[in-house]
Amino acid sequence: MDSHHDSNLSNSSQVGQPFTRLEDRRHLAGQGGFVADLRLPGIRDVAFLRSSMAHARLGPIAVPADAPAGAVWTAEAFHGLVKPIRAVLDRPAYRPSDQPVMAEGTVRHVGEIVAAVLADNRALAEDLAERLEPAYDPLPAITDPEQALLPESAPLHPGWADNVYMTMGRTTGDFDAMVARADVHVTRHLRMERVAAMPLETRGCVARFDRGSGVLTLWIATQRPHLIRTMLAEQLTGIEERDIRVIAPDVGGGFGGKSNLYPEEILLAAMAMRLPHPVRWIEDRWEHMVSASHSRQHVQTITAHATKEGELLAVDVRFLVDGGAYAMRTSTPAVEANMASSVLPGPYKFQAYRFEATTVATNKTPVGPFRGVGRPAAVFAMERIMEETAAAIGMDPVEFRLRNMIQPEEHPFTTISGLVYDSGDYPSLLTKAAQSIRAPGKGDAPANIAIGIGFGCYTEQTAHGAQEWHRRGSPFVYGFEAARVRIDPSGGVLVSTGIQSHGQGLETSLAQIAGDVLGVSYDRVRVVHGDTELCPYGMGTVASRSLVMAGGAVEGACQRLAAKIRRIAAHNLDCAADDVLLAGGEAQGPGGSIPLDAVARIAYLELQKLPLDVEPALDILYCYRPPVETGAYSSGVHAAKVAVDLDSGHVKILDFVVAEDCGRVINPLIVDGQIAGGVAQGIGQALLEEFQYDDQGQPTKVTLADYLVPGAPELVNVRIIHQETLSPFTVHGAKGLGEGGAIGPPAAVANAVSDALRQFGVDVRRVPIRPEDLWEALRP
């Protein structure tokens, strides 16, 4: 990874420095602690029997006569103990579906839980689980979103008239007039296939109920412990939220896939409450492939209407998303299509916009959020049509884009879909990316290789506040983040926060922010997260929000604590609080200084030196709620250079440039890492990853030998160009950037391949791009 970065911050500031991550010390030494590492006395393992059928009536489950008593738990065992999961969206067009915590009467996708088996270890639990015999009476399976819309496809959910979770549409601007004015009308039918986040660590949950205190503790590989706790309290009977503790220990990647409330977590909790010992379930990769949330799977039709001079006048788009069998909490499957339709305009302005966004139920694994949510698909649609429209009017695709981009001085800019962009300079990002990727020129490839260059431009809505969540109809209106900052009597700084860090390096970034305010080195700051008992309430790490929101909270808490430290120091240095500077681990006054540990000692253990009007202790809780709640918009341009082997149809990425703008960069190393990781996932989606099902609804890719994720040889050294357009709406001017890396690659790679093959009249209509499809299209 090369990174070019100009920082305008002073050297004394820790914000902006490329510090290596504090958390890497434990991870590189193999000393991290994940759910599966937990050792609890008496723990027993759970294996789930999962449906082998995509759609069937479920009859009685025959249990072998020699099964130990209490080993097999079917749906009846949970009657009265758990409630079905209902993900709601406060929008009239949305139709909720109940997701059973354990199937009863009907199974609706391969992988749905049919029974739980408890044994001394996982292997024994599996031995018994495979001997259970559920009676299945097969029903026709819906395996494709277009099939779901056919009148002959019977509704999958009771009380539904069809298979639509949600459909909505809107026309903004004088659509017909713009279409009439346009010289060219370019349409593409596109598909983005079904993928999943595929973190290295699968899901997992350990549950222990302490009879003495009545406290239920769950260790879950999750991105948002507090929210899971709130939801568990709603799902379980006989326990209050107060008595539930959720701990997310080290989590080996989430990418949205670990942000849902899962049936397994509820079942483990309910079982633990009835058992005298802790229970554990560690997901294996097959289970992960069939029961952790999937994502994307769009069928799209998009038309651009433009003048021959290159003015984009109107866009018309239809998104159809295969949402799978159930609506997961909290995002619901509608999150994909709804998000795609609202972010489609990206960095462009045009006069009229018409969209339709439809999400349907099928007999497949439920769809949930995955890094990018809706944006990779929207950007794929929009950027493919920008590319094809430029070609149709014979204009350079970069020039065509530049001609239609929002200009920096137009911010804050309200898009035609109603989003409010805070700041950004999209034309300069595109210009930089284009210069960089085009530098060596196309050129002298062997004749069986076609080389192409393609772009994917996007804006990335991040760190949205309450107003935006409310607009979307979210039942939880997320809009704040809290930080508790303590300095102990020895001067050590402890920050606890409601977000959760599972690879984002937040233990380091937040320490840099705290260190700057408190005048201590970041490695004196310990950041605690992922424990509902130790940390203040927070929404967790989703939606590219943690640095902006938790960063704002940590900054605010530290500022308040710093003010208190100054007052204590001023009292003892005989100067004014305003004259005290916190730096180098001391409180420095005009005539002398006091080390921070001495100030802390005064606050706790030498109260004789503490002014009477200052409250003892150094311990502050602060909640940050952004003043403007429409979000901070990062932006980026991804540029790919590819080689297509015309004989085999194989695509190789030769070069990949990311020009990106996430406002203030807190830690460039971490930012670059987030981008490179996201790009890897995006390239996977562009070239390799997809789930497939046969017409019975059987998934045909259920191992990592079939579902291909890119490895180092399939990737390239991502070249990153940073641009810092500060957000006027956030504390540090920072914008979220966790998802951006994954947003651009499908569009950029598809456009590059289309550029390479334009001479043969071939363009990409589907990602992942399959060699056999290109070969078929290129056949003489």
Binding site: E126, D127, W286, A447, A705, E714, P771
Partner: protein, 276 residues
């Protein structure tokens, strides 16, 4: 998934292993194919006889007539690192280095790969090209089977219960030059197209794997291989010749991509063999 329960034995010598195999037992070599299948509970051996540390199966030697003898439990990594003596050592090291990932090569063995008989695997293809002979032993007996009679189809071989593949014998290949080509979407994955080629004065042959049937060895006019090639292989006379030969072998859907990849990798392997 976890393995179902099984018994495990690691005999100290070859005879002990053969005795154990005479009962109901399965061979465990590198475990790189068997253990995933046990994890999915597709393979359910009741007893495993681990041969991976039998020193009698872990060596390689060149016989006076030039025959290369390789022990069945020699790992891909050993071959990659130069364990094979003689003129074939370099080519086979390259083949080994292209199998899977190093972690798998550290354990996976040449004998295990041949007994697994995955049509897309490297050793079945290369050993077919080289006319290797496999030595199969059982308690009190031994037979030698040419690899082309050994490989019967997808995951099917001529091995019988109680038999152990002990040694692979590769006849000398005087004056031969070799080429290898694979087509994968992701490095280290099983190939979608795989071919190994051999060029000797006056003859060219190529073995195509990743078919529904055992690797197919086709003879090709060497003049087509050594001459200059057009930029697009698909329009070359060589492509047409391999295509026709594979169609005649009736091993693929001739209109399909897999057929094309087999022909394409075949051409590429042949051209590589012809490189100076």
């Amino acid at each position: 998934m976890k393995f179902p329960a099984f018994d495990y034995a690691r005999p100290a010598g070859l005879d002990a292993a053969l005795d154990l195999l005479a009962g109901e037992a399965a061979v465990l070599s590198g475990g790189q194919s068997l253990s995933p299948m046990m994890g999915f509970r597709v393979a359910r051996p009741e007893k495993l006889v681990d041969i991976s540390r039998l020193s009698a199966l872990r060596g390689a030697a060149l016989e006076p007539d030039g025959t290369l003898v390789i022990g069945a439990a020699v790992t891909h990594a050993m071959i990659e690192d130069g364990a094979l003596p003689g003129p074939l050592g370099g080519f086979l090291a390259r083949v080994a280095g292209g199998i899977a990932y190093r972690a798998i090569r550290n354990r996976g063995t040449i004998g295990g790969s041949l007994c697994q008989a995955d049509p897309a695997a490297d050793w079945p293809c290369v050993m077919s090209l080289l006319d290797a002979v496999l030595v199969l032993r059982r308690a009190g007996g031994e037979r030698q089977v040419p690899v082309r009679a050994f490989l019967l189809g997808h995951l099917m071989t001529a091995i019988e219960p109680g038999e152990l593949l002990t040694v692979i014998r590769i006849p000398p290949q005087p004056g031969a030059r070799f080429g290898m080509a694979k087509s994968t979407r992701k490095l280290g994955e099983f190939a979608e197209g795989i071919a190994a080629a051999c060029l000797t004065p006056g003859a060219a042959r190529v073995t195509l794997g990743a078919l529904e049937v055992p690797p197919a060895t086709l003879a090709v006019d060497p003049a087509l291989v050594t001459g200059p090639q057009p930029a697009r292989l698909t329009s070359s006379p060589l492509y047409a010749a391999v295509d026709a030969a594979l169609k005649a072998a009736d091993a693929t859907d001739p209109a399909g991509y897999r057929h094309h990849l087999a022909v394409l990798t075949g051409c590429r392997a042949l051209i590589e063999a012809a490189q100076p």
